[in-house]
Every structure is written in structure tokens, then in C-alpha cells.
Point group: C2
Chain length 492, copies 2
């Protein structure tokens, strides 16, 4: 499930940086035009650019993207998830009234006659529409696709307007906290597998927030907007949030202070549970009490599932932006250790929660399908891994390069290639009829192709080929008839 | 490279049919709402639909899509291709003037302030824009992504407005026909690997068509529109095409008849080459003669690469719609055998050709990057495989289901699950605290999960679990401590 807060961070990557990685231009066969690394400009013509907030993915970037997504998909599949896809655009009506004030960021299509359409803003609303339309009452699915937001880059630097979401959701009427705990387990597994550093999953419950507002005396109709103010606590100090509550949202200073005291509580689940249980205010309110019981069950399941205690925190100030959450909410943040080892959150990397009433907004009979899900901020992950990778990433899987030492041997090269392809070996050659040997071998090194088969007239006469280990530059002569079995043995 | 003619067929699939496959609704855990198979309607609300010409992909359809794309990608990688991606929309200017009269099918975005954008119509124009913008002079890449066309379903039934293209292109200044032959080899490999039936790859050369027009006396400025008429020969009889040439394009009947005689020639490459060589008209024109020499070289390389003679035909009536082709053109058609074994083409499944001047349209200094490529009509492939698959396709990869025989054992289930996940085993359980055993086992059979681990109080006391082979329904008792090694052995 994709939602606002996670996405605020998800698309916070260095747009230009990615473009500056050089695509592995094939210099051997180049036509003399130097390969320029930047794709952010192209000369005199105004049209030679990509739309604002978007980017091309070079082969290097695609290699990273593929590897990150494969890791995540493996985890989704380990938990038995199915895969679905929905159209990139929806009827505008489907999106209307689902995103609050962020609706202004939706891309609309031009009215060219026919239906009025908009590009999808996240994957959660299309998922809810899909469930209602297909009358699906239970499914565990993932969905990896691009979403579109007309964010204003002047205000929010470095954000993308087209970016990936990577969602996993469990829909269905089930027993409390079993699907919710599995989502948290999944976040832990994925972040461990991606190896992008220390993280912590903050967890809270909307019922606890509602109960706190209740016992602090916030009027019911202000619950959601006060929740929005609390949501800002991850970026703003309490004083600012307090001012907003008082000056913009119209709370009395007393109520705001009460809220501040109650929600600025976080720590190890067992410690926070113990602290809350000793708070008579908190325990006397049925809503907070019930929310706490839910959290106890959630943490019990998390523990049984093997979630590390250090991976999670119970954080009463976590609010999440979107209105549609109805239960557990969570957000994973990357941690940076300052001097003395103090943990500092450096940005959200995943988030989600329970939303039990969104499907009912689409169902003609208002039937609800309870849902819980998580969205992984993969753009951020791509960006972290791109910045970190010092060694050159392979962009092809070529195993063997067929090279010629003399002119005019293109036909022999093609025959060998054909045999290699026919044996399932990934193989390339130069598309020049008479390429220079040095350039062919340089290409192999640059593209990290492990083996080169080199033929010359001498080899042809003797019925042999030279097999070159590209990394060590060692060469050996082998009978041409043994080439396939020998290569298969080396490659296995 | 995606182009018009291939795509005419590519999105010609049975839109509704796909939707009628039932998504594997998890009945065990359903909330009592019956799962309806159709997603083409949803009740009283007008908004509960997907946009015209689009569809959701159910888990069943995604399983087919993933398997088809994996087969194709494997082939692309065997030929050393890199992967790229571009944004779903482009500046409108980028697309303007590239698609002739089909430009009216482009989806425009609403002007919400800022740039004027359109959804991509194919992957070829964005590729050319990418090459020019990134100053890449040589690359061998594939690109698999959705494209958008406001086709009128009333006129062209069953077509999609959102559909996949699956393109492979080789860009760079190389020696003649080496990249071109590899594209044809690739089409043969992919169609063989997909096992969707008999096919034939028709091949022609734009230079031959141009030369024929020249020697038949067509005025130079009419070349492209007469080429468009010839392109219709795959669907219309010669008489209709002749009428169009005369009545709409203004050719004289004599010239039209001459063209008809020259281009209605097709067959085995060697036969056609011999026939053309004995045609003094044809051999006296430098353009046709040169085109024929190119085709001879192409077929020689195809043969050396192991392309079957029966897979290809030299067909002078193949024209391809798009203006931008400058050399070899090809189109693969599926063949149906009538009575007596006569071959009848039943629709295009792949197509492409050489386009040496498209990149120059974007380059500020008009520098060209010669390109040749092919687009696989994957929507058609999805559709063929969907219609053919009788047995139920697995939509998850779950290896083990953890079931309980009595109530109240959810914690034990979760502990076992956690061990399985920790060992990399794909495992699921019911999200109900006390599910019925029969329903759990039925779910395993329905979802084709190979193994079930069943625990009851008796097993727990004895420190064992029951391991059930779901297909044979055989059960055996094994020590709980041996569960992981035994499962790993069974699953390997």
C-alpha cells in the first residue's frame, strides 16, 4: 500500500545524480561521437529533455533497479504473495476524494472526448477499486509499478514526479493482528536483505491516537486534522506542532499540552506498554485501553515471528498522514549513529498500516474488505545503492565474447556464435566485419565478460580456438569441437 | 522497436476473455462474499470500472505475463542486451511528427501549468530521443513497457489502449547486415521458445520497394503513400489496393499494374533471389539491384547464424506502415495449416526493421545513429497462452503450508512459520486463529502448494509434526527438530 508519508521520502532522491552515471557506451564500435554522461541537456533544441521530475534509467541504473526489486519480490513470494497489475490511469472519479489536500498533485489527462482520466497517484486506491470491482474478499498480493505526482520541485527539491511504488497488502476478514504482524516481519526481512544500514520500525495504533485525543478533550470533528499536525512531529519540533494546533487548528493551549505529554512517548515495546499500563488516565479510557491491548497482541506475534526487539519501537507520536488508516500504523526509518552511538532517524524507507474502510468506498453495497499493507520506498533504496556502489556494475549477462585476430573472419565468428547461442550460452561479438583485436579485448574487460574465444587463421587451420580468461588474461588452445563442453564446465 | 504494423496486431487480443479467468480467490478465508470472476462491471456505481480499452491483470494473468516475459528476456540477455527505461510521458514535441496520421491516437495530458506532455505511443521514439539526449552512439538494449493509443474500439474490436511492447534494438554504425541478421535470429529464437505454433518471418528491404516504385514510374513524392497502400496487402486483396493506388493516390492503372506484378513475389530466399536476378528490369535499376545485394548478404548471415530456411521468406509485398524505415524490414506471422497443409497467415506476432535517420531528428547537429530493431507482440502471446492453458496456473510459489488440527494453536503455527521463513522456505498459514483443518487442506490443493505441515496437540506433546504430501495426500510423522533439513531435501 502506498501512502503519503512513505512517499514523501520515497521520491526524495537525487534526480540529477543518477543521470550522471555513465552508461556503458560501447567504445569499441562507437562512431567517433564521444559518449557524454549527462542526459540533462542536449544542445540547442528545447525539446531534447525528459519531462520535469522524470528521468531515463540507464543500463547501470536498471541493473541496480532489477537487483533491488528481485530481492524484494523474493521476500513477497516467501510469504505467499500473488502479483497483480492495474492500468496506469483510472477514471478521475476513482481518485477523487481519496487524497485530501494532495489531490491537487494528481495528473489529469486531457479531455479528448470520452472518459475523464487521471494518472494513478498511488497503488492503494487502484487496489481497493480492483477488490470492489472484482468482488474479491481476500487476497495477499504485491504490486510494483510507477505512480505520478505533480509535486512542485521548487518546494520539494530532488523529488520525482514519476516514481516506483512497491506494495504488499493482505486483504480479508481475519483474526486480529496476524496479517498486521506479518507486514512488520516482512519490512524487517526486506530491509535486512537489502543491506542498506541500520533501521527501526516505529509502530503505533490509530485507536490509541484517537483515544488520546478523546481523553485530552479534542472535539471529535478535529481528530483528523490534529492527527495531521501530530504527523509533522517527525520533522518539526514539538513547539511548532503545538503552535499549529493552537493557532491553526484552534485547540486550547491546555489541550495541546496534554496531547504533547501523552504522545511524546516511545521506546522498546515492553517498556512503553508497562509505562502506559501505569498511566491511570490512559487505562481508564476504553479506546486507548483497547488500542493498547491490540498493540500487546501485535508485539506478541512479532516476537513469535522472530522480529528482533531492537528492530521495532512503540512510538505514540507516529501518526501517518492519510485519513484512511483505521488501525495499526508503522514507518521504518533509517538510522544514523552520531557521536556516542545516539540514534538519529535519517528518513523513512517504508510505511503502511491498516485501512479497513477504503474498499467500502467503492463497493456499491458499501461492503468493506479489511486491508493491511506496506509500501517499500524503493526509489530511496535505488538511490542509496547507486551512491554506494564503487565498483562497476555489470549491465549484461554475456558469458562469452567471440573475437577475431585477423580481418575477414566474420563468417567463422558468426558460426561459433550460432553454436554458442544454440547451447544456451550468452554470447556476443563485434558488429564490425574486421574489428581490431585490442579493441575487442578491451570491450570484454570493460563489460566484465568472463571468457573470450579468439580465432585467427592459424587456429582455424589447426581446428582449434584460443580460450581467454578475460580477468587473468590467460589463454589456452582447445580443440574447436570441445569448445561447448569446456565452456559449459567453466561457466557452471 | 515498436511500430505500427506489429502493433496493429499486438493489441488485437480478446480483452474480455482475459478478465473472465477467475482469480484464485482464497475461499478458505473468505468473508462470505462470493467471488465473482468478472471484473468488467461492478454494480450500481458508474465509476466502478477501468478506463475503456484497459484492464486489470489478475494473479493468473500476471503468472502468464511473468513467464512469457522471462522467456523473452532470457533470449535478449543471451544476445548481450542491456535494459533501459524511459518515462511514461514525453514532451508532446518529442512525439509530434513521428507517427503520421496515427498522431491523432496519442493521449495528451491536461495542461495543468508547466510542460505540455503526452503518453508514449511506442518505445522507439523515446529510445531515439534517449540516444540523442544522452549522446550514445552505440548500444544494444531491450525495453519492456506499456504504451498508450487512443484507438477507437468501435472500429477495431478487442484492441487495448494500454498494452505492452517488448523491444530489442541495436544502435550503432556497424558493418552491413550483421545486426539486422541477429534481430531475425532473435525473432526465430523467441518464437521457438514461446511454443505458440508455426510461424514465418517475412523479410523485405525498403530500398527494393523504392527501386520498384522508381522503375515502375511512381513520382518520388508519392513513394511513402504508395508504400502505405502496399502495406495493406496483408489484409486486403490486390484489387482493393490497386483501386486505392489509382483512385486515392492518383497513380495511372498502368503504373499500378506494373507495381502489382513486381511486388507480388514471395517464397524461399534463394528462389526469390534467383527469380529477381533473371528479371532484367529489376537488375538494371541501381536501387533494386543494391537492395537485392543487401538481401543476399542478410540471408547469408541468417544461414550462418542457424536460422532455418523454412522460418523465413523473401516477400516483396511486405511494406510496413511507418515512414521511418530505411532498410531491411520484417514481420513474423503465425501460420495456420488448412486442408492439404496450405499455410495461411493468421496474424502478426513480431515486426521491425532498420531506421537510420530517426535519432538525427532529435540530435541538435542532426547526427544520425543507425538503428535496427524488433518488437515482439507480447499481448498476442499472452492471449494465445491464456486461451490454451487448460490446467490451473500457479499464482504463488508457496512451498509449505502450516496447518493446525485443533483450535488455539496459532502461536505454535507462527513459531514454525518463522523457522521456515528464516530458512528461506516459502511458507503460508491461515490468518484465522482457529481455522478448520479441512479448509486449510483444501486451500493447499487449490493453490497447488506441495507440502503441508500439520500440528495438533498430540504432535506437540510428542515433539513431532505431520508432513503431508498435498498431491498424494500421504502423511508421515517426523521429529520437529528435523523439519527444516527434511523439507529442504524434499524441495531441492
Amino acid at each position: 500500500m502506498g501512502d503519503q508519508v512513505a512517499d514523501k521520502m520515497e521520491n526524495l532522491t537525487t534526480s540529477d545524480k543518477g543521470q550522471k552515471k555513465e552508461c556503458p557506451a560501447k567504445k569499441e564500435d562507437g562512431d567517433g561521437v564521444p559518449a557524454a554522461p549527462s542526459s540533462s541537456g542536449g544542445g540547442g533544441k528545447a525539446a531534447l529533455k525528459v519531462p520535469k521530475g522524470t528521468r531515463d534509467y540507464s543500463p547501470q541504473q536498471m541493473a541496480i533497479r532489477e537487483s533491488v526489486l528481485a530481492t524484494i519480490i523474493q521476500c513477497f513470494k516467501r510469504h505467499g504473495a500473488e502479483n497483480i497489475d492495474t492500468p496506469v490511469f483510472e477514471l478521475k472519479d476513482v481518485l477523487t476524494g481519496k487524497y485530501g489536500e494532495d489531490s491537487k498533485l494528481i495528473y489529469d489527462l486531457k479531455d479528448q472526448g470520452g472518459e475523464i482520466l487521471s494518472l494513478r497517484y498511488d497503488l492503494t486506491v487502484p487496489f481497493a477499486r480492483y477488490l470492489a470491482m472484482s468482488k474479491i474478499s481476500s487476497i495477499k498480493r504485491y504490486h510494483i509499478a510507477k505512480v505520478y505526482r505533480r509535486d512542485n520541485p521548487a518546494m520539494t527539491r530532488g523529488r520525482f514526479r514519476e516514481f516506483y511504488q512497491c506494495d504488499f497488502d493482505i486483504a480479508g476478514a481475519y483474526d486480529p493482528m496476524l496479517p498486521d504482524a506479518e507486514c512488520i516481519k516482512m519490512v524487517e526481512e526486506i530491509l535486512n536483505a537489502l543491506q542498506i544500514g541500520e533501521f527501526q520500525i516505529k509502530i503505533n495504533h490509530r485507536q490509541i491516537l484517537d483515544g488520546v485525543f478523546e481523553l485530552c478533550g479534542v472535539p471529535l470533528e478535529k481528530f483528523r486534522e490534529i492527527c495531521s499536525s501530530v504527523d509533522k512531529l517527525d520533522k518539526s519540533p514539538w513547539e511548532e506542532v503545538r503552535n499549529e494546533m493552537i493557532n491553526e487548528k484552534g485547540l486550547s493551549p491546555e489541550i495541546a499540552d496534554k496531547i504533547g505529554k501523552k504522545i511524546q512517548v516511545s521506546g522498546k515495546p515492553n517498556d512503553v506498554i508497562a509505562q502506559l499500563k501505569s498511566d491511570t488516565d490512559f487505562m481508564s479510557n476504553p479506546t486507548t485501553k483497547q488500542g493498547l491491548e491490540s498493540m500487546e497482541l501485535l508485539f506478541k506475534y512479532c516476537q513469535l515471528m522472530g522480529v528482533e526487539e531492537s528492530s521495532v519501537s512503540f512510538d505514540l507520536s507516529l501518526a501517518r498522514g492519510l485519513d484512511y488508516y483505521t488501525g495499526v500504523i508503522y514507518e521504518a526509518v533509517l538510522i544514523s549513529r552520531g557521536k556516542g552511538g545516539a540514534a538519529v532517524g535519517v528518513g523513512s524507507i517504508a510505511g503502511g498500516g491498516r485501512y479497513d474502510t477504503l474498499v467500502g468506498m467503492f463497493d456499491p453495497k458499501k461492503r468493506n474488505v479489511p486491508c493491511v499493507g506496506v509500501s517499500i520506498g524503493v526509489e530511496r533504496v535505488f538511490s542509496i545503492i547507486e551512491q554506494r556502489s564503487d565498483k562497476k556494475i555489470r549491465t549484461t549477462e554475456t558469458q562469452v565474447y567471440v573475437a577475431t585476430a585477423q580481418k575477414g573472419l566474420v563468417e567463422e565468428r558468426v558460426k561459433i556464435l550460432s553454436t554458442l547461442w544454440g547451447s544456451g550460452i550468452k554470447a556476443e561479438h563485434s558488429y564490425k566485419a574486421s574489428p581490431k583485436l585490442l579493441q575487442q579485448l578491451q570491450y570484454c574487460e570493460e563489460m566484465q565478460i568472463p571468457w573470450a574465444v579468439v580465432i585467427g587463421e592459424g587456429e582455424l587451420e589447426k581446428g582449434i580456438v584460443k580460450l581467454r580468461n578475460v580477468a587473468t588474461r590467460e589463454e589456452e588452445e582447445i580443440p574447436r569441437t570441445d569448445l561447448i563442453p569446456i565452456l559449459k564446465a567453466r561457466l557452471s
